[in-house]
Symmetry: C2
Amino acid sequence: MTIVSRKSRASGRVTLDDVALSAGVSRITASRALRGERSVGADLVARVAAAASALGYVPDPAARALASARSHTVVVLIPLLSNNLFVDLLEAVQRSLRAAGYQVLIGVTHYQAEEEEALLADYLAHRPAGLLVTGFDRTARCRDLIARSGVPCVHLMETSDDPSVYCVGFSQTDAGRSMTEHLLQTGRRRIAFAAAQLDPRVQQRLVGYREALMAAGCYDPALEWLSAQPSSLALGGQMLEHYVEKYPDVDAIFYCNDDLAQGGLLAALRLGIAVPRQLAIAGFNDLAGSDQMWPPLTTIRTPRVKIGESAATMLLQLMRDEAVEEHSVNVGWQLVKRQST
Amino acid sequence: MTIVSRKSRASGRVTLDDVALSAGVSRITASRALRGERSVGADLVARVAAAASALGYVPDPAARALASARSHTVVVLIPLLSNNLFVDLLEAVQRSLRAAGYQVLIGVTHYQAEEEEALLADYLAHRPAGLLVTGFDRTARCRDLIARSGVPCVHLMETSDDPSVYCVGFSQTDAGRSMTEHLLQTGRRRIAFAAAQLDPRVQQRLVGYREALMAAGCYDPALEWLSAQPSSLALGGQMLEHYVEKYPDVDAIFYCNDDLAQGGLLAALRLGIAVPRQLAIAGFNDLAGSDQMWPPLTTIRTPRVKIGESAATMLLQLMRDEAVEEHSVNVGWQLVKRQST
DNA sequence: CTGAAAGCGCTTACAG
DNA sequence: CTGAAAGCGCTTACAG
């Protein structure tokens, strides 16, 4: 048994050398034992573990990252924290990844290309072990940064046919079409599409809406309101007022997101418009509170917890160089019929 | 001019040595120039900066942290991401801190002491430059971890008389008392307090509520519902139903948070209870949507953006060893009278 | 299965 | 104002 000579560090920090000294092994063996490398004898593993916990040893992630050229950090980039959808997604991702020993670095892009570039450049410098990004819509520079970094990356919320790309999501277009068909089936003909934010997924829902209405011969572009503003209850209310005033024959509003739809529902209440008798209102995502509205909101339930978990699992496989069954996982969605339609 | 001998690294990474070589200076000078140390000549600074940007140099934060024993990371611990209050706070913190060159590491404790301990132990290993935590209520182990780390720490959401503690917030008790007094002044006498989550700040609001009612001789402990469940619209609705059934003489409900109050408002709508004529409803925090409710919700507006900015400023001063004027900043609050009371 | 050497990329004293 | 040396705390080959 060789005792490592040890000069005490200037910092009070407990280091691997302290653990090794205390366990009576070399620093490398201590390192291997702590990381669970199988080559170390069981007795040594136990001795090292005991010494580490006795000393309160915490590995220095910076030293680790520097020496190994990788980290246990996963970067997650989402557009917004103020949309519950992404909070649910994030919680699921965090839970799965932390359980597997990874730390999650959250970046919020606010749907701004420059912010995404800045965050990516910043976070990639930390040599993350993995990357989770929302959707496919980003600048060439961002795509380049991701590709050249060599960091495994899974895309959230959408699916793709490109086998070189990893993603977990569902067909936003199908879901948009399905909700529109539901409105048609319940006898609506003048169906408005009220959208804000206009991110790519909203656009895809719009495509589904158009397809369904064109197939039914009911499409009227005048009934689309595509606002680039952020989504909010207040905007949803304004949108409803707009349709009621300018297009009194509108018999249904399909909002691209539940917060808008909730605002529409409240505005209808304020204006004394009977929902759904006079006007049907539908949303998207099934966010918190939609089931509590009056009347409760018909919407598309999107499985973001499943997306988060599934994406975390896929990323874990990629980070461990394990085989991934499907490069694109479709988790589907569900139409939740409540009383607003 | 001395050219640093350079062996090319195994990794493709552009390092400080590459920059130094290209700029024709030593590695240390390049390091100093890049970090803006004033001792470097202006011409050299320009040359180094040009070389760095030409090569696309990005400093390695791990190497930096290891060599300097500190980082540009700030850890923020909040209880929940699903409460908009904390999202607003976080956005403000992120904006201020990123502008100053710091990265923000977000930790979500879910109001669980063990989660806070685990996060703290984990994140402190990263040698953060600063720490932002929510409130004062934490385990001795957490307090000890913070204190022994020596990392500057600012507490969010509450104020304190202890001069050794840095914090930015307001008096939750005063705000709770004030809302209760408002209800008394508008003629209410049977005022219920409906609370969930029961974190320390909710408890402080409760104290204010009790003080006001006792002073008015109207206190009835039976009208307090203190639920440890998480806050939600649905729970707020259930609470309203409870009071209507069991205590039909209740003429006002003071909810400890706006989401509960919104749920109460919607339940009243569903049950056909006239607000505020028959029953006044008040909330706390002025969250998104409260102004859109029907009727719009009377509540306490809490300045979380200001708290976030102010705390970031204070932390920045602490991290730079600058003087901090007040150890405890009180940003106040505001009663927003709308139509639900 | 265990260890001595070298190095990850940077910064902190210490010189001049 | 600029630089050569040493070191931060760990892990990766390379030996045995």
